[in-house]
């Protein structure tokens, strides 16, 4: 680890060479785009640890840009302007995300930023956007701590994590009234930690005993010790947060060590198909919450008038099902379209105020920003894996299965 640590910066600078080559190519191609366009910059994790998430953002943004340009572009005042999306790979390294955000603003002169995956990296990119007063739309950052920095130019399409905890405690207590205690194990990282702390608070407020609550550090490759302690605490509900690889390992070790509970929740595991594929039958019964599910039936403005229209388009393009990352990021573009139409100009301050006043319906659901720039709370889907498929348990309007106990 030590030697690897020393060489992290070496890896960074060597990789920077590759980026520079890419940037040069982009710069050479730039003069071809002579007519006025709306430029959106996106530092993306296309390689490295967050590559999967980065590619999800990439695919829907490209879909959206194609659709909007095919329709003539975005209306700004009396002109219709085409959209140009400029993406750079920041290789999942926060430091580089910040450098590339600066480059996008200073060299490429982007008018908007799309922030990358995760609360941590969003915080970094939003800081740069704020400095240059470039509106930044974050589609995969839900930790309120990111929006607590009084950033005036940051807006997020996910609603606060809080919406996922209180409602879940209430729902599970209704379905399993004998639930008395919860064990919480969370990854020590911005989002998973805030969810772990949020659920413990919500559970206590809801009258449950928190029988175990610990965080595990990034890089943990064995959960046996924590799980053995959880087993000794005999909770009715086990709640684990982390990235997909952590959760797959934790579930596997729960099985190995014979640990179970009537309710097992993993966040955000089942929201991703990688989780159910990686676990196979072991995924069955695991519940979770999500910000969006393609079974929802929203209607509204934008290139996709309904959730179904987006789903069909996405399915045709990728052969897979979209998850909340796809939904939220595709909707981020609509925020810009709507704000520009109302602002009638590209003036930074006007556009920023127009975004703050957003109140629209989209295929992804309503988007209306609170005072901190986050999308307002709404009922978020509670999901469960049943026979290898994702079922929606709540809210009642889109429910397609009843909750089952862990097999």
């Amino acid at each position: 680890m030590f030697a690897h640590g020393i060489l992290r910066s070496a890896r960074a600078s060597l990789l920077a060479g590759g980026v520079a080559t890419g940037l040069l190519a982009a710069a050479l191609a730039a003069p071809a785009m002579a007519q006025e366009t709306i430029k959106i910059g996106a530092p993306l994790a296309l390689t490295g640890g967050l590559a999967d998430e980065g590619h999800k953002q990439d695919v829907v943004w490209k879909m959206w840009v194609e659709k909007i340009n095919a329709a003539g572009g975005i209306q700004v005042g009396d002109k219709k302007l085409k959209v140009e999306l400029i993406e750079y790979d920041y290789q999942s390294e926060g430091q580089r995300a910040s450098q590339l955000a600066e480059k996008l603003i200073n060299d490429d002169k982007v008018q908007f930023l799309f922030s990358p995956f995760g609360s941590g990296h969003t915080k970094i990119v939003a800081g740069v956007g704020e400095r240059y007063q470039v509106p930044t739309i974050a589609c995969v950052a839900s930790s309120e701590s990111v929006y607590d920095q009084t950033l005036k130019y940051l807006f997020g399409t996910l609603s606060p994590n809080g919406g996922m905890t209180t409602a879940m405690v209430k729902f599970f207590k209704e379905k399993f009234p004998e639930t008395k205690s919860i064990a919480v194990l969370g990854r020590d990282d911005v989002f998973p930690k805030s969810m772990a702390e949020g659920i413990a608070k919500a559970a206590e407020a809801g009258g449950l005993t928190v029988a175990y609550k610990e965080l595990y550090p990034v890089g943990t490759m064995d959960h046996a010790a924590a799980l053995s302690s959880i087993k000794a605490a005999k909770p009715d509900w086990i709640y684990i947060t982390g990235y997909t690889q952590d959760l797959i390992l934790a579930r596997k070790q729960m099985q190995d060590l014979g640990i179970t509970a009537p309710i097992v929740t993993m966040v955000t595991g089942p929201s991703y198909t990688e989780f159910t594929q990686g676990l196979g039958p072991l995924a069955n019964g695991i519940s979770s919450s999500s910000w969006w599910h393609h079974l929802t039936t929203y209607e509204g403005q934008g290139v996709w008038p309904t959730t179904a229209a987006f789903y069909e388009d996405f399915k045709a393009r990728t052969k897979g099902d979209p998850d909340y990352v796809h939904g939220s990021c595709a909707a981020a573009g609509e925020v810009i379209v709507d704000a520009l139409a109302r602002a009638g100009s590209l003036d930074k301050a006007k556009v920023r105020d127009a975004i703050a006043a957003t109140d629209i319906q989209t295929f992804y659901g309503p988007i209306k920003f609170g005072p901190n720039g986050m999308n307002l709370s709404r009922e978020l889907p509670i999901i469960q894996v049943q026979d290898g498929a994702i079922k929606v348990l709540a809210p009642a309007a889109i429910k397609n299965a009843d909750m089952i106990a862990m097999p």
């Binding site: 680890m1 030590f2 030697a3 690897h4 060489l7 070496a10 890896r11 060597l14 990789l15 390689t47 490295g48 640890g49 967050l50 590559a51 999967d52 590619h55 194990l185 020590d188 610990e214 965080l215 595990y216 550090p217 890089g219 943990t220 490759m221 064995d222 959960h223 046996a224 010790a225 924590a226 053995s228 302690s229 000794a232 997909t244 690889q245 797959i248 390992l249 596997k252 070790q253 099985q255 190995d256 060590l257 014979g258 990688e274 594929q277 990686g278 676990l279 196979g280 039958p281 072991l282």
Partner: protein, 287 residues
Amino acid sequence: MAIYLQILSNGLMLGALYACLAVGFSLVWGVLNVINMLHGSFIILGGYLTFFAWHLYGIHPVVMLPIVAALMFALGFTLQKLVINRVVSAPVLTTLTLTFGLDMILYNAMTYWFTATPRRITLDLGAVHLGSVVLPVDRLIGTGLALAMTLLLYAVMRGSTIGRAIVAVRMDRSAAELMGIRTDRIYAITFGIGALMAGVAGVVFATVFPITTNVTGIWLGKAFVVCVVGGLGSVPGALVGGLVLGLVESFAGHWFGPQQAITAGFVLMLVLLLTRPTGLVGVRGYE
């Protein structure tokens, strides 16, 4: 009491897996004086080979074990022969930088081909119950394999001509050359064995841990700690280091919470570096 027995067995099984991943790393470091930054990626490559053979063609990981071992040996041998041998007698920083560069190529190529999606062989073998202690079968197999590989390596180093030649080169390269040993070839074989051991660890890990390029650095770091704890220059060093690290992490996780488990491993490493730089069973002169 029951929980302590469980934590003890968790620690021993985890430790054996750590030993399994570090044996090859320790050998290459001890003999070639090369800190092989590729080691973590080699493990994951072995894991991917196993995963795809199972996922696409239904080949059982046990069948893949010798195949992966042979392929990884060939890869390691070729790399050493064609690339690393050119700088092998240069200071350690040069070889470190070289293997680091090679690691970047392999790591990024794997991320590009396989993506970073965590994959797992869903071949759940169940668990053995000994009273209140639960022993997962795949980890038991991993433990057995780690012990077997270490013993095998020990036997090869002690009893075979190649093994004696490797030991001779480790002791004194010039003298070994004068005795007619082709050191370039011995280096290539040693590096091949190192890669082979990493590949075998990858096969075992594919059934126990999710396989993703995200964790190459973590495994490399563990190999490093195991070697420092156990000591270089002796085959049992990796085994002792692995078991001690597994036990320390396991008990620290229980007593101080999972957040401190990894820290405890590094604290142990620091204490040993200060008090016993040769590691627990290392040979003087290789620290």
